[in-house]
Amino acid sequence: MGTQLGFYIDQSRCSGCKACVMACKDKNNLEGSRMYRHVTEFCGGSFAPSGNGYTQNVFAYWLSMSCNHCENPACVKNCPTGAMQKRSEDGVVYVDTELCAGCKYCLWNCPYGAPQYNEKEGKMSKCDFCIDLIAEGGDPACVAACPYDAIEYGPIDELREKYGKLADIKGLPSSTITKPDVIIKPHQGAQK
């Protein structure tokens, strides 16, 4: 295998602005609810009377997530046509639309909601790490768009040396299922 690419998400800096989502939708021409990167809000807590006033434990934070181009992608393993493939040169998981029959089985297999059904084409689609932009010396659309520099990308081994290995936070399924190539710096309160 070549050099596995991965994302580093600094959740502690994320404001939930969704610039990454819109940049991705724009670059990939995604219509309607189709999103290769999505931002999820986590919020809760409440106010409680305390003496003459109130105390509160209200919180809100966001998580930007796309395909994690996993080490053991369940979408690739279980795809009946072999359309879902993992590139050997950089570990990017992509859909070969010449083979895809649009059975949507990958949708049921991905823990991260990465595969997206393209109604118009009748086939699946997903984040492909903007490999075309990277080949031209550019960055993935989401990385370039983030105003907080909260998304970084690169060889996952280098990112892990720099930022650690955490890929399990509240709201995410266990990283042991598909071994996602993502590292997250959790927001306060998001640690498991």
Binding site: T81, L99, C100, A101, K104, W108, N109, P111, P173
Partner: protein, 275 residues
């Protein structure tokens, strides 16, 4: 719930498999009482029709049906490919068995048995498709028991009902077998429900919802389904009793209707979890 094509496909195929198992088990008794070909002719034709309905329905699940034949490329790796290969083989064998019987005017027990075995393997693959996914509630022995439950309930009841249309005397001898298999079919589904209810399923989807939470909105349907199927089973038992000198045929079709509706409801609730 958008998975109507899959609901139709899985219920039709499971019913056909159960029907063939039933024909295999009752073949000797049917041959003793009458010309087994004449008795089995209509059920075999019905199973060909049912498998075709299931097959056509499965194409409606695909976004690009023109790429349908690529679905077998993952054989050995993907449970969906495995299921398509074995289901395809089963449907082919159903057609060959029925076609040969119609041509030779006699049934072939070896073919019926082989078709049944391939069908049972296809059902295992069918259930495995769902157990390996991230959908909460599907990764359970219950999923296998739900699918095999349909095989042993709907298949025999449909088969006995069809035979009863033209061979009332013969059906008296086989109604007990239909009842025994239906008891097995219902019993394994009860077991499956118990296993499901005591299992704690990990959430394996980002922002996933638990199966228990989803099913909370379908309590009435779940209860209605069990009432219908248990009532149907009880009625079948009454019909199968030795003391019944003459089988009341309207009761058999009532049983069939109750089981069809019950099984359809159960499969609907199953697919709700994945929608």
């Amino acid at each position: 719930m958008h998975e109507w094509p899959l609901l139709l496909f899985t219920v039709c195929l499971s019913t056909c498999v159960g029907g063939f198992v039933f024909l295999g088990l009752t073949h000797k008794k049917l041959a003793e009482e009458a010309d087994s070909f004449k008795v089995m002719k209509l059920p075999l034709i019905i199973f060909v029709a049912l498998s075709m309905i299931g097959l056509i329905a499965s194409f409606f699940h695909l976004g690009t049906p023109a790429h349908a034949f690529y679905l077998i490329r993952g054989f050995g790796r993907s449970w969906m490919s495995n299921e398509i290969v074995f289901s395809g083989l089963f449907i082919l064998l159903v057609c060959v068995t029925a076609g040969l019987a119609l041509f030779q005017k006699k049934t072939n027990l070896v073919l019926i048995a082989t078709t049944s075995i391939v069908g049972l393997i296809a059902v295992y693959c069918m259930a495995s498709i769902y157990t390996v996914t991230r959908i909460n509630g599907w990764h359970s022995l219950n999923t296998y028991l739900v699918f095999y439950g349909t095989v042993f309930t709907l298949g025999p009841v449909l088969c006995a009902s069809v035979i009863g249309l033209t061979y009332k005397d013969v059906v008296k001898k086989i109604i007990k077998m239909a009842f025994v298999l239906s008891v097995v079919g219902i019993a394994i589904q009860v077991l499956g429900t118990i296993i499901f209810s005591v299992t704690s399923f990990d959430i394996q989807l980002i922002n996933g919802t638990s199966a228990v939470e989803i099913l909370g909105s379908y309590n009435s349907m779940i209860i209605a389904r069990w009432v219908l199927e248990l009532a149907g089973l009880a009625l079948l038992g009454v019909v199968a009793m030795d003391s019944m000198k003459k089988v009341n045929y309207s009761m058999i079709y009532l049983v069939l209707a109750a089981i069809i509706v019950g099984e359809a409801m159960n499969r609907y609730v199953f697919y709700i979890l994945g929608s």
